[in-house]
């Protein structure tokens, strides 16, 4: 059987063409076979998976399926708390942590019928990696296991690209969904800040943290995101507004949409690879051919967004970890403990000036988006680097393309836009206005439907 997308599998399950139990067992077997090379999973939950699959199959037989996620094999990044299943943040610091309750998103996906195969690798506490001195090794890229997956949702990127799961949870504070999505050649959306609950997800920086889905296609991300949205009073960031309709307009095309290319981000502020540059042009050209209007927009320099973003992220992360740094400093891996230690040097004034700059940057982007519906730029500088070529200070050394939209809280999607000279994928980034996640998904889906990239899987996904 060719590996289906979530949308395809949902139709097959509804038509009783595949058994959720057999599907779950098949994915568990494949995951167990490939994990020694990929390290995408840090823990399997076969008993839970098969219990959920049996329940899905009972609903299938009874004609009472809950919807398109019923019986779909997924897994959760190991910063999402799971009742009775250890949730470690991929860290020795929480090696014995067994939550009593599921995170809100875990609960929501389970209620939609998903089948949880296990817990996925992450950079330590969503910031420290790729690290080789943690209780589990770092995940590796299915397109070439000598290469990096991106992070921090590294296991989700690897497992989805390899076809071990059909979708999974990520989290995104400075690019942790969009980075691995780009480098692993999948789709991943950082939803609007406040759209999805973060309750039960280990924090990194509360004013930037966002939960979101990762999957092979944009359509699958829409299906997964649809089951994540909704106001959650237990999360102070959760927006008290009606759930958006992410699905009915997904095939609506892009005719009339105005797309602003932030050319200076990826051509002047920092350089991207030729393949990434070609991929961005391909997205623009394709959407133009489908009826969108392409224009150029100018924002403040990428470095300004990164300066404010990293000061805020680092200071917030230090505050989250301050107590453990005093008591368990050597339990952290080298990369994270050193990043957190340097974060202790940020003054209150530095932090608050960064928050003032953030407001100015938000205003600048809002003004630019009065003239366009979406923005387009790179998601990463290029293809994934070899996994042993990333240093402790990589986050600070070069500006990234993703943290600007954590600062502004906008929805931002990474989607595969081609392949580089090394045979690894590259991904472009589409950004929408706050709470217009549906528009971002609609444009991304239109691009995927018009191109052939989704027909190319890593060899191990066959």
């Amino acid at each position: 059987m060719t590996l289906p997308t979530i949308a395809e599998a949902a139709r097959m399950i509804a038509a009783k063409q595949i058994s959720p139990i057999a599907f779950a067992q098949d994915r568990l077997d494949r995951a167990a076979a490939h994990n020694p090379a990929l390290h995408a999973f840090i823990r399997f939950t076969p008993e839970l998976a098969l219990a959920q699959a049996r329940a899905a199959e009972a609903r299938q037989m009874a004609g009472t399926l809950k919807g398109p996620l019923d019986g779909i094999p997924i897994a959760h990044k190991d910063i999402y708390e799971t009742a009775g299943v250890p949730t470690t943040g991929h860290s020795r610091v929480l090696i014995d942590h067994v939550p009593a309750q599921d995170a809100a998103v875990v609960r929501a996906w389970a209620a939609a019928g998903t089948v949880t195969l296990g817990k996925l690798a992450t950079h330590e506490f969503a910031w420290g990696g790729p690290s080789f001195d943690l209780p589990w090794p770092p995940a590796r890229n299915p397109w070439n296991t000598a290469h990096f997956t991106g992070g921090s949702s590294s296991g989700t990127g690897a497992a989805v690209a390899a076809g071990l799961i059909l979708g999974g949870t990520g989290s995104d504070t400075g690019g942790s969904i969009r980075g691995p999505a780009s480098l692993c050649g999948i789709a991943g959306i950082k939803p609007t800040y406040g759209l999805c609950s973060r309750t039960g997800v280990l924090p990194l920086s509360q004013s930037l943290d966002t939960t979101g889905p990762m999957a092979w296609t944009v359509e699958d991300c829409a299906l997964l995101l649809d089951a994540m949205t909704g106001h959650d009073p237990s999360d102070p960031s959760s927006a008290n507004r009606p759930r958006p309709d992410l699905l009915s307009g997904l095939n609506g095309g892009v005719a009339g949409l105005r797309i602003g290319v932030i050319r200076h981000f990826h051509e002047d502020d920092t350089k991207v690879s030729p393949a990434m540059r070609a991929g961005i042009a391909h997205v623009g050209d394709t959407l133009k051919a489908l009826g969108a209007e392409i224009r150029e927009v100018t924002l403040p320099p990428l470095q300004d967004f990164n300066a404010a973003g990293w000061l805020i992220l680092a200071a917030d992360a230090f505050a989250v970890h301050e107590t453990w740094l005093r008591t368990k400093f050597r339990a952290y891996g080298q990369i994270l403990r050193e990043r957190l230690a340097v974060s202790a040097t940020i003054s209150a004034a530095d932090y608050l000036q960064a928050q003032r700059r953030r407001r100015e940057l938000c205003d600048a982007v809002t003004a630019a988006m009065t003239h366009c519906d979406l923005l387009l730029t790179a998601s990463q500088p290029g293809e994934a680097k070899p996994i042993d070529q990333l240093g402790t200070w990589a986050s600070f050394e070069a500006p990234n393309f993703t943290i600007p939209f954590n600062l502004t809280g906008q929805p931002a999607l990474s989607l595969c836009s081609g392949f580089g000279e090394g045979g690894l994928p590259v991904g472009a980034q589409l950004i929408g206005r706050p709470f217009e996640d549906a528009t971002v998904l609609r444009a991304g889906h239109a691009y995927e439907q018009a191109t052939g990239w989704r027909g190319m899987r890593p060899a191990m996904a066959g």
Binding site: A307, L311, R326, V342, A344, R356, R359
Partner: protein
Amino acid sequence: MAEPLDKPQFDALMQRAGIALTDAEAEGIRAASRYLVAAADRVRTPREVAIEMATTFAPQVRA
């Protein structure tokens, strides 16, 4: 690129944070402080004194 924090400043901040480092670790981390010093310089653009932070919030009554 900005200069890193000087050693007395850096050592005082690590002591305040309760973080005990070897000399080699301290030098490596102190050298990296230049990235945050540069970021702190960059966010200090000229602005009106009354410009608000992004975290300013409006009190709301919970339903």
